[in-house]
């Protein structure tokens, strides 16, 4: 139970970064931290005590596997996360070239 709460605190740290930082790069990092905490939470839920990785060694089934379904879903999320992070960074660098700063307040004041 304490692990779930620690994981959620990691999520809250990312949320704090998104809503308080003014730098665009810091906001992107906050979004990445939130994504990592969600991946970790899904894998924590699927863990079974003294389970082994879900790989069948022989025809006989091993005693206990950890849940393979969250692992398969999180595996796709990790690669998508890299692509979306790169997309956010591309938008950030175009904003920097247009306005000359990463400060979102300056960008808001300049209006286009």
């Amino acid at each position: 139970m304490i692990l779930y709460i620690l994981c959620f605190i990691l999520f809250l740290v990312g949320l704090y970064g998104v809503i308080t930082r003014r730098n665009v790069i810091k906001i992107v990092l906050g979004i990445c931290i939130m994504e990592y905490s969600l991946n970790l939470l899904l894998i924590l839920i699927g863990y079974v005590d003294e389970g082994v990785a879900p790989i069948v060694v022989r025809e006989t089934m091993a005693s206990k596997f950890v849940d393979p379904l969250p692992q398969a879903m999180v595996l796709t999320v990790i690669v998508i996360g890299l692509a979306t992070t790169a997309m956010l960074l591309a938008i950030a660098i175009r904003v920097y070239k247009k306005h000359g700063t990463f400060d979102i307040r300056e960008i808001k004041n300049l209006k286009g």
């Binding site: 990785a53 790989i55 796709t76 692509a83 591309a90 070239k97």
Partner: protein, 146 residues
Amino acid sequence: MMTRGMTNIVKTTTRLICGVIFIFGIYLVSHGHLTPGGGFAGGTVMAGAFILLVLAFGDDVKHLRKTEEGSSTLENLAILLFLLMGVAGMLFGANVFFKNFLEAGTMGELFSAGVIPFLNILIGIEVAAALFTVFLAFVIFKEEEK
């Protein structure tokens, strides 16, 4: 005379280990149904090998643009073939998408598990090409800014 890329130490080390990294990526993709790994992890390893080459040796913009075009085309072809593999099951009489229409074979051999190795290879190519294209887009942007 301005030399392109990094120092000689980095270049020599890259020459030595780049091929090994690429072969490890191919191993991860092709044994994805037997050992940990698979298309996503192996594709990222292969993209890492190419990224290491570009970082160490550098290139001119014209050639980089051509490479970007090629990797982008490869990515599109890979996802098209992935979709066709899904439809192909319907030709063999199944009425569901992504039916495993080949023989399952004996578990633990390299050629087993029906269509899963082929889908693994296609996803590996797709991920590798996509990540390499993203990296090349940033490099070309940086070079054109100058």
